[in-house]
Symmetry: C2
Subunit: 344 residues, 2 copies
């Protein structure tokens, strides 16, 4: 750049030796920062001539200082097969807003894009596309217009694209399967969904490999992604027909259907059947029994995505995909009670 770029909140943070969040707190008078740090931040801000930006007046930088977020949900949430992951998406969205704010960026929530003209209507420096489908058309639109884009979740067919952040699905799946096996399960099935998001695709592949290494025939049932209730129940019935002693359910919305069908058939969870679900939620925590679940850390995912996008907007080299580590919360649904009835 010919002209000096104007200082950003991160520059102040670096000079003051604190986090961007701390700078934000000090400059906005939030008041939980000790006096010494506060003085250091103020001095750094003054020295650099830092000024908070206004999102639509990026005149000095020639930028809109605005990034766009594209969730995979539209206005008609009730019809969406991901309805039960709402807690995940809302946490992701709110953390994206806060992370953008700490980077002096405003966050535009974009509507479902029906064509390039839709995207052209928004002045964004870059976009975050959540849960890309294979060869996702939304990503293609950003690329077509030359607007930097990163995805949360990997586009499984764009194998050369390094610009993504995703929870570690393969690692999570291995962790869950090992956990179920250690709890005594011998016939572990997977109940998932027929949709090409990397969270599901990687879980399926890992499951097949895991079963293959043990010489076990995989029991994999994929629900149709439409007709929420009926396909959940149909898929749950189909997987239980295989008489598994454990089921890993990567998509959260299928778990309640599985519990219901199991109850109707007199299959006790966890006595007869261990269950683990792929996306943690309040529902998983308060279900009867509480469900073992993978915590995808949507907060870190959002923050890493904003960080990666800004790196890309600023012309950085690909910093490689970023895999977000997950945590398995072990709850009653996968804890075999000593002395409980086992299937033969």
């Amino acid at each position: 750049m010919a002209s000096q770029p104007r200082p950003r909140i991160r520059d102040v943070a670096e000079v003051a030796g604190v986090s961007a969040t701390t700078v934000s707190h000090v400059l906005n008078g939030k008041g939980r920062v000790d006096a010494a740090t506060r003085a250091r931040v103020t001095a750094a801000a003054e020295r650099l001539g830092y000024r908070p930006n206004s999102n639509a007046k990026g005149l000095r930088s020639g930028r809109a200082d605005t990034i766009g977020l594209l969730l995979p949900v539209g206005a008609d949430l009730e019809q969406a097969h991901h309805v039960l992951a709402v807690e995940f998406y809302l946490t992701l969205a709110m953390n994206t807003v806060e992370a953008a704010f700490e980077h002096d960026q405003a966050l535009l929530q974009l509507p479902p894009l029906r064509g390039l003209d839709d995207l052209r209507r928004f002045s964004v420096d870059g976009g975050i596309v959540v849960d890309p489908l294979p060869l996702d058309t939304r990503v293609a639109m950003f690329n077509e217009l030359g607007v930097p884009v990163v995805t949360i979740g990997r586009d499984i067919l764009r194998t050369q694209d390094p610009w993504w952040v995703a929870a570690d699905s393969a690692g999570s799946t291995g962790m869950v399967l090992d956990h179920l096996a250690e709890a005594g399960a011998r016939r572990i099935a997977m109940l998932s969904v027929d949709i090409g998001w990397s969270w599901f695709a990687d879980a399926q592949q890992t499951y097949r490999e895991w079963a293959g290494r043990r010489g076990i025939e995989p029991i994999l049932v994929l629900a149709r992604p439409d007709k929420l209730e009926s396909s959940a129940v149909a898929a749950a019935a189909e997987v239980l027909d295989h008489r598994p002693d454990a089921v890993y359910v990567p998509p959260q919305w299928l778990a309640s259907g599985l519990l219901r069908v199991a109850r109707e058939r007199g299959v006790d969870v966890p006595g007869d059947l261990l269950v683990s679900v792929g996306v943690d939620s309040h529902l998983a925590r308060t279900s009867e029994p509480p469900l073992t679940a993978v915590d995808l850390d949507p907060a870190s995912t959002a923050r890493q995505a904003v960080d990666l996008l800004i790196h890309r907007i600023e012309g950085g080299e690909p910093a490689g995909p970023r895999l977000i580590p997950t945590t398995l919360h072990s709850r009653a649904s996968s804890l075999r009670t000593p002395g409980a009835a086992h299937r033969p």
Copy 2:
């Protein structure tokens, strides 16, 4: 205005005699519009010289063509007492995005505002504040900066403010109480939360008045809005100590705790206790038993709020508060089975 305002999508819609959505579909080539309508829209757009705007380049209009949305949730969703209303908030947010889009407005998702400087960082023509607290400070910030604002939910202490849209809480409460009474309930309690949002405040007042008209002593238990799980369980236990035969639970997050405590005490729902909840959700629909719930119509609420805000931005007179009608979905939790055990 001295200069001719540039035509907006609504102007095209009016001239073509179709909805803004149809105009948007035609101009973006979505393709589910018949040829005659398509031709009419295209002709209208050409005649008016309509051009889609770019959110951050409101040079012609002197406006940012951007509105801000402030949800009552921050990044740390798990700690929030409204965690179970996530489906409502996400539906509200996505419908706000789409409604804004149809009005040629981009939607900025605003972070929690800690002070005026936070708000100054965003160039928005107006803001929508969701679920204002009494004398809400976020609303005060917009007023202080002279930025038009509307609220979703009423600020119960700003009684002179006509700029709000809200689901009809009083009407919904009356509808639920009448429904429970018609199902045979004689000791109807309310389990709610101690927070000053109009949805809850109006429900409580309506309940007291309803009970007063019948000469019934109200049984009203308010949970603390913090410590999600423990306060839900404590409040549920307290309300059941009163041995009601029905409970109306305006805040969605208290319903699952009530069901759990009832189960532990051997109180059968609906045999011994009818239950109705105030905010419909997938959880309510798939609960065991499925819960009678009020559908707040977040889609209409969002659209009315965007409409009202744009009216205010354009200098319109107060068009009065807008009450959104609700629908009661009657499910198993409030249907007294013939012959089932009744409490004395």
